[in-house]
């Protein structure tokens, strides 16, 4: 069987984007955290999946929300790839990429993720404090759910949310990735 040349796929991707046929574009990026799946819609990054997550499920989730015309292309997402690589390799201290939270349908969860974007690099917040900032101080548990189901980890920094004890706590990508991210950002945790 003849292998499909990368140049052919990139040509199709470029033409599809030019024609406005792409509902979303995705790329696979090797980083210090492992291979990430990054999916971008018209308004920003809609999904980042860690290696443990089934890729087909993540892509299907995006297709259900944005449409079936998902296109794979490294070239089309070249700026996003560079930004993520630079951040995760410690070359830059800022990660300023547009994010589209439409995969989070529940309004409170979405508010939580929006407030979370205001927590700067190097700082952390407790689940209770984030619940307060999202407008419902009693909803620490719902904040936990919002973080666990964060469709755009890393860029929406759910790794900066720690239990009230100050310990590392849980993370969708696994606690070792949470630790790596917090260490990269110079955040203190006990």
């Amino acid at each position: 069987m003849t292998p499909l040349p990368e140049s052919l796929l990139e040509s199709v991707a470029a033409a599809a984007v030019r024609e406005g046929l792409a509902d979303a574009i995705f790329t696979r990026l090797d980083t210090p955290l492992g291979r990430l799946l990054v999916v971008e819609g018209p308004d920003g990054i809609v999904r980042i999946a860690f290696p443990g997550e089934p890729e087909d499920r993540a892509l299907a989730e995006v297709a259900a929300a944005l449409g079936p015309n998902l296109i794979g292309s490294d070239t089309q997402l070249h700026a996003e790839r560079d930004a993520l690589s630079a951040y995760l390799e410690g070359a830059t201290a800022t990660l300023d990429l547009p994010v589209d939270l439409r995969l989070t349908a529940a309004p409170f969860r979405r508010t939580v993720l929006e407030r979370l974007r205001d927590v700067p690099r190097g700082q952390t917040v407790s689940y209770g404090e984030l619940a307060l900032r999202a407008g419902n101080p009693r909803a620490a548990r719902a904040v936990g759910t919002a973080c666990a189901r964060n469709p755009v980890p890393i860029v929406v920094p759910c790794h900066r949310v720690l239990p009230g004890t100050g310990k590392l706590g849980n993370y969708g990508g696994g606690p070792e990735r949470k630790r790596a991210l917090l260490e990269l950002e110079g955040a203190y945790f006990s």
């Binding site: 040349p5 087909d56 892509l59």
Partner: protein, 148 residues
């Protein structure tokens, strides 16, 4: 629910390229690129998610047929060419129509290689213009189905 388009490309791209190569030789990549764009335009409107691989084969076959048509644009000539130019493109074309019976192959050669219009094909086959058109369209349809 339709699967994400690119998962189909990643699953079947290799065999589609091999298929395009059988139909269009060295132009296979152009044909497949055209086919995938056509497929993308149509994909969101598909009614169901069945037989998607066969559908992609059909789209690729159609793209190859159109590619051959473009390579032999219709030219208004009073006298049809008596002989057929033998070149690589012609070899590809013969490979493409090989699965058909002789009647269908003759109709397609007259239409796409000799560039005859339907009146011209009718004159050569000794049938009516309507019958000539029918023979060509049946042959094209059979060809699409044979690759599906």
């Amino acid at each position: 629910m339709l699967p994400p388009f690119w998962t189909l490309v990643e699953a079947h791209g290799d065999e589609l390229l091999a298929h395009a190569r059988k139909l269009a030789g060295d132009d296979a990549e152009d044909v497949l690129q055209d086919a995938l764009l056509r497929a993308l335009r149509a994909y969101p409107r598909l009614r169901h998610a069945e037989h998607l691989r066969a559908w992609l084969y059909r789209v690729t076959t159609t793209a190859a047929i159109d590619h051959h048509r473009r390579r032999r644009p219709e030219v208004a000539t009073a006298e049809p060419p008596a002989t057929v130019a033998v070149d690589d493109d012609y070899d590809d074309f013969e490979g493409l129509i090989a699965p058909l019976n002789e009647t269908a192959r003759t109709a397609l050669r007259l239409r796409f290689v000799d560039d005859l219009d339907y009146d011209g094909i009718a004159a050569r086959l000794g049938c009516s213009t309507v019958a000539a058109r029918q023979r060509v369209s049946t042959a094209v349809r059979t060809l699409r189905e044979s690759f599906a």
